[in-house]
Amino acid sequence: MNSGTGSSAGQEPVTGEDGGVGVPLWEVFVRPRRGLSHAHVGSLHAPDAATALRHARDVYTRRQEGVSIWVVPAAQITASSPEEKDAFFDPAADKAYRHPTFYPVPDGVPHL
């Protein structure tokens, strides 16, 4: 048990992007209800995963926003960069045939 230092095996403290306070940043994902996906709701600082989860509960689900929470070390997220924006996203702009607009959505499946 090494809960005090937050550096037990497999869970090294994440450095960088810590606001200069030495406490790692975590991204929080909340699933609003069954049937929906987890969605990013914000971020917070916490020394380890267990604390991050409890903080997320207190900061982001106080008004019954969710039934499930994920917390992810911000440093573990690989993001597309703004310079790559054109190459990544523009080619999809003129390919309307990729949009499944040619059949009706059945009743009672609002989140399809």
Partner: protein, 244 residues
């Protein structure tokens, strides 16, 4: 006054005073996440206190509502255990007067373990109104216990400094836990809940026996309650009957 009124009043006063103490951390916690967490815990306690004091007023049948019981009683009329009125810092330096997190966590750990079991017991009791309040509160106490456990482990099994301060907090608060069990038989179960946490946190559990301060349930309080009430009640008393 009926025994039922006394019982509900004691529970309500525990929750109310614990809420006020926790709320003292608001805007002063080590970081914003902890600030919100502590405020949430305080609001849990306050919500339970409102339900219990309203119900106590009904049981008393003297026309006193939750506000009259919370804001218009003097210190000797409160029935909370001494533990909840103790300040958020250790009496001796170097514990900061603005609040010692280890003290707050020791108080929360011991109180939450007691409140959870007490509420669960009452939730299965014959008084259906009280059982409904207790069933709701027991879930909140279970979370408070989880939260306090996490921090007790972190501080106790942390650095040399955090271990020393957490141990000092446990030693300081422990004597005040005896009073919680004067009107129930829950101490063995409470010990079974608290002891493993202290052991895992590498903290020494104080021996049973020794100094056991009491008096809160009979209205004999420390000076800390008087100061707390002065701050909590001043606005209500200065503007009697005022409404938002």
């Amino acid at each position: 006054m009926s025994a039922a009124f006394e019982t509900v009043l004691a529970l309500g006063d525990d929750a109310l005073i614990a809420a006020q103490r926790l709320a003292e951390w608001c805007s002063r916690a080590p970081d914003v996440e902890e600030d919100i967490a502590l405020a949430n815990l305080a609001l849990d306690q306050l919500g339970t206190a409102r339900l219990l004091l309203s119900y106590a007023g009904e049981l008393e049948g003297a026309g006193r509502d939750e506000d009259a019981l919370a804001f218009l009683r003097d210190d000797h009329e409160f029935r909370n255990a001494l533990l909840v009125e103790l300040p958020n810092h250790h009496p001796e330096p170097p514990s900061p007067r603005s609040g010692d997190f280890a003290i707050t966590m020791a108080k929360l750990l011991f109180l939450a373990a007691y409140q959870r079991d007490r509420y669960r017991q009452l939730a299965a009791g014959p008084d259906r109104d009280l059982a409904a309040i207790a069933a709701k509160a027991a879930k909140e106490s279970a979370y408070h216990l989880d939260y306090a456990t996490l921090w007790t482990l972190r501080l106790g099994d942390g650095t040399q400094e955090s271990h020393a301060r957490m141990q000092r907090a446990v030693d300081e608060i422990w004597p005040y836990t005896y009073e919680l069990f004067d009107d129930n038989d829950l101490r063995p179960g409470w010990l079974a809940a608290v002891e493993p946490v202290l052991a895992e946190a590498t903290l020494t559990r104080p021996p049973e026996g020794g100094w056991q301060p009491r008096g809160g349930r009979a209205g004999r309080h420390t000076e800390h309650l008087s100061r707390l009430l002065a701050e909590m009640q001043v606005v209500h008393r200065a503007h009697l009957g005022a409404r938002w």
